[in-house]
Symmetry: C2
Subunit: 197 residues, 2 copies
């Protein structure tokens, strides 16, 4: 979505996670942690963290700004994006990876197997609900997650709000501010063809 919003032309290579291509020798040579996405910059550097990739693209193509314009906006985008990644994403992943047969021994990304622990399934769900409660409180006070402008934090939140359905959580059903926000932001994302009309 960042790439689409900024209209940057970047060649893409698909790494098929269902076929475990992220653990192939070719891909591990690029990112030994076996995670996607990875951005290869023009000087051959590999960036492996989404927030870092977005920072780089923001520097290359500042318009439209998606990581804030003023000092406080820039800080708030990182603040909320971090909360989404560290509280939201990790909690949903904890449930999904300990629960789904497709993730057997794949509790963490990367080359090392870790066995599933069924007792983490509910813990992850509980933390996920708490995360969305925090988000609901925020969206009752703010149009977008980081303030008055759409930003990377909203893109990350959109991804995991939809991702929550993988663990049978429907965060928008009981949270009116999140629901309104989700409707507005999803409408935007449909422009890029990422979501069905």
């Amino acid at each position: 979505m960042i790439i689409a919003e900024k209209g940057i032309d970047i060649p893409k290579v698909t790494v098929n996670l269902f076929r475990m291509e992220q653990l192939s020798p070719e891909f591990l040579a690029i990112n030994p942690q076996g995670t996607v996405p990875v951005l290869e910059t023009d000087d051959g550097t590999y960036l492996t963290e989404t927030v870092a990739i977005c920072r780089y693209l923001e520097e290359l193509q500042p318009e439209p700004p998606l990581m804030g314009s003023s000092a406080i906006e820039k800080a708030l985008v990182l603040n909320w994006n971090n909360i989404v990644e560290q509280s939201g994403m990790i909690s949903i992943a904890e449930t999904l990876r300990n629960w789904s047969p497709g993730f057997r021994n794949r509790v963490f990304p990367g080359s090392t197997d870790y066995p599933q622990m069924p007792e983490l399934i509910d813990r992850g769900r509980k933390r996920t609900e708490q995360f969305f409660d925090q988000i609901e409180t925020r969206l009752q006070q703010s149009t977008y997650l980081a303030g008055n402008n759409f930003s990377l934090a909203d893109i990350s939140l959109l991804a995991i709000t939809d991702f929550a359905s993988w663990v049978e959580i429907k965060p928008t059903e009981t949270r009116p501010a999140l629901s309104l926000w989700h409707e507005a932001v999803s409408a935007g994302s449909r422009r890029y063809g990422f979501m069905p009309e």
Copy 2:
């Protein structure tokens, strides 16, 4: 360390975690998640994520730059800082919080109790060692974590390299590049009186 490096004068309020002051009504009104640090900006905004606080201070006082100067440097600082927070810090915290009697029911920060799970102690230690292996590989190729310049990523890594001793891991003992880096960066941090001479 960011505040000290930049020479900014910021009034500080100590929140005593051993006395659980982070869960007092007064503090939860400031940060409902019950985590430290929090920065209150001049306009009354509370920033609750370390990386966001640092971004704000970098905007207010750009010298010395601690989050990169060029586009690629800015991206690499966020990239490595994220790896330190999400792979390193979380793994050490997983061990400490599931292991130490002082963290009984305090497996996560905040107001909700979660019971300790002894089986996570070793998992956290294994992930911690893997994290430091990744760091060792990086520091064999790079003077500082994000490249040629000392940055926020090094400050975060210094914090958790020392923090690892809380779970009886001594990451520098078997990792020569990390050990050299640790010696150099610790010498810097002693200037501020954060570490004993």
